[in-house]
Amino acid sequence: MNKIAHLLRRMNLGSTIMLIILVALWSTPTVGLLITSLRPRSVAEISPWWEALLNPIGTAWTLDAYQNSLAGGMLSSLINTIAVSVPATILPLMIAANAAYAFTFLKFKGKEFFFATLVALMVIPVQSSLIPVLRGMVWIQRTFDVQLTGTYVSAWLVHSAFAMPLAIYTLRNFMMTLPISLIEAAKVDGASYYQIFWKLVLPMSAPAIASFAIFQFLWVWNDYLIAFIFVGEQKSVMTYQLLRLLGQYGEGWQDVAAGSFISLIIPLIVFFSLQRFIVRGLLAGSVKG
């Protein structure tokens, strides 16, 4: 008897059971919507999803909702989302890496002041500048006849700007751990700052850049507000389509459910394949408030 009790303690049964309950609680809402997205509408309306879970063979399954959703605009939104997200990840990282390099290795007046300003800007809500930026873009359009609103470019610019404080901050923190002797040696050999940055500092900062890139990508991919304001309907991203579908759930949950999971495929692939980097990034402080 004592042996069994000992074995149970070694397996940490109590903790495991508590965790299983918690994980079940955490996953249930997602599983419910996933199952619903895979059932024919006529069935899902009269039989709740847990009945399908309890009797998976006796119930009907279909991918119709996914087809509908893709044909109904989700596919072009997927492309738009990629076109917004990829540059809105690469551009800010490139700009921030350059700036972080200046903050870490170069000497200039007012460095501490600029850096403190950046840190302070990290908590400012995006809403505080969006109306003037939008009106500014409309003004540029009227004055110089350059179309910015409704294009990907405007979203790239705005996302890049909002990523700046946190990106510069995390990249600088990483660059400060790089061996300064290596950079000094390169300088003695006559390398310019430009060469040192591209050939030495940038490759050595790859781990920090990778983990920030994942965060920025997920952030932009999942953003609604900036895409709604600056890209809008013409090139609507997936969060935009999803919200539109959610407004019509009276016509059945299937399409919005399928749409949700289509929008989740890429973030979940990124998440599960790069989880290690995500954890590392979180611990380095790259999380957007």
């Binding site: 903790s15 109306i131 999942n222």
Partner: protein, 326 residues
């Protein structure tokens, strides 16, 4: 197909152009005499970031503050009228109360569950730890809009006579009560609390990961010493582990607090701010996009910035502490 090509082309052009910009800046710099170009090198690296931050963050922020003293179309000055209107409007005071409730509830619960999960997963061995953590952490990859869809379905309500599809109402019925249209029920801000649950669900993964790393850094000796003295598991946790990870717990708390102050997407997607669930960031959206009231919208967001201001101070303090440790 043309969409794909257009997208690809714009991606390539966008990235090439920004690389070209840095090349150009450095090229221009290299034309200057050696002594000057060495000392001005920082300009080439910093200028693009500075221009972006000044034009898209700082100037617009100041513009917003200025506009908060102007009328709907930002044509005429109105002094403090927008602020007076806001603070004499019962509905706006309700919005402030909502923000206050969010701040009061979400960070504390998120940190508490995160600490609990971090502690539990630390005891079950690496394989189970990895699986449990992944599943709790997974919502991190989900957009607020997708999360809102998932939870709207969980809370969903169908008119009487038809079978329930929402799990919450099915459970309520199973316990012998009537199904309820949960998201429309603002008695005691019930629906706001249901929205908060979604944000807790999304954020616990973050708090768990960070706190878990801190717990793993607690020196074994301190725990073993307490165990030798006969301390119970709870005593070890509360007396030895928790004090050593308290700094981390607080920093997670502040991060979630800042996030919650700006909560927006969840309210927009789940209730559109109806049924007294509106918060400051949503009210800004409504004033601007639904009513085109630029002055009042600017005033709302200025109030939000002022409320976040003290947190900015906390943020700078934390950074300074970290710098000192370097």
């Amino acid at each position: 197909m043309s969409d794909i090509i257009f997208g690809l082309v714009s991606i390539v052009i966008g990235i090439a152009a920004s690389y070209g910009l840095y090349w150009l800046l450095n090229f221009l710099l290299s034309l200057l005499p050696e002594r000057i170009s060495r000392n001005a090198a920082w300009l080439a690296f910093l200028t693009p970031a500075a221009v972006l931050v000044i034009l898209v963050l700082i100037v617009p922020l100041l513009q917003t503050v200025v506009w908060s003293f102007m009328d709907d179309r930002v044509k005429a000055w109105v002094g403090f009228k927008n602020y007076v209107d806001l603070f004499t409007d019962k509905r706006f005071l309700g919005i402030l109360l909502n923000n206050f409730l969010w701040v009061l509830v979400v960070p504390a619960i998120t940190v508490a569950i995160g600490t609990a999960v971090a502690t539990l997963t630390n005891q079950v061995g690496p394989t189970r730890e990895r699986i449990f953590k992944s599943l709790i952490f997974m919502p991190m990859a989900i957009s607020f809009v997708a999360a809102a869809t998932i939870w709207s379905y969980f809370y969903s309500y169908v008119p009487p006579g038809r079978p329930e599809v929402g799990l919450l109402n099915a459970l309520v019925k199973l316990s012998g009560f009537e199904a309820q249209p949960w998201l429309t029920m603002d008695q005691g801000r019930l629906n706001s609390f249901l929205l908060m649950a979604v944000v807790v669900w999304l954020q616990v993964g973050y708090s768990m990961v960070v706190i878990s790393a801190a717990i793993k850094n607690v020196p074994e000796e301190t725990i073993e010493a307490a165990q030798l003295d006969g301390a119970s598991a709870w005593q070890v946790f509360a007396g030895v582990v928790l004090p050593q990870v308290w700094g981390t717990v607080m920093s997670v708390f502040v991060t979630v607090l800042i996030l919650v102050m700006k909560v927006f997407d969840i309210v927009l997607s789940m209730t559109r701010g109806n049924f007294t669930t509106s918060v400051l960031a949503f009210e800004w959206y409504k004033q601007f996009f639904e009513n085109s009231n630029i002055g009042p919208a600017s005033a709302v967001v200025t109030v939000l910035v002022l409320l976040i201001g003290p947190l900015m101070y906390l943020q700078i303090k934390t950074v300074q502490q970290q710098e000192a440790l370097r």
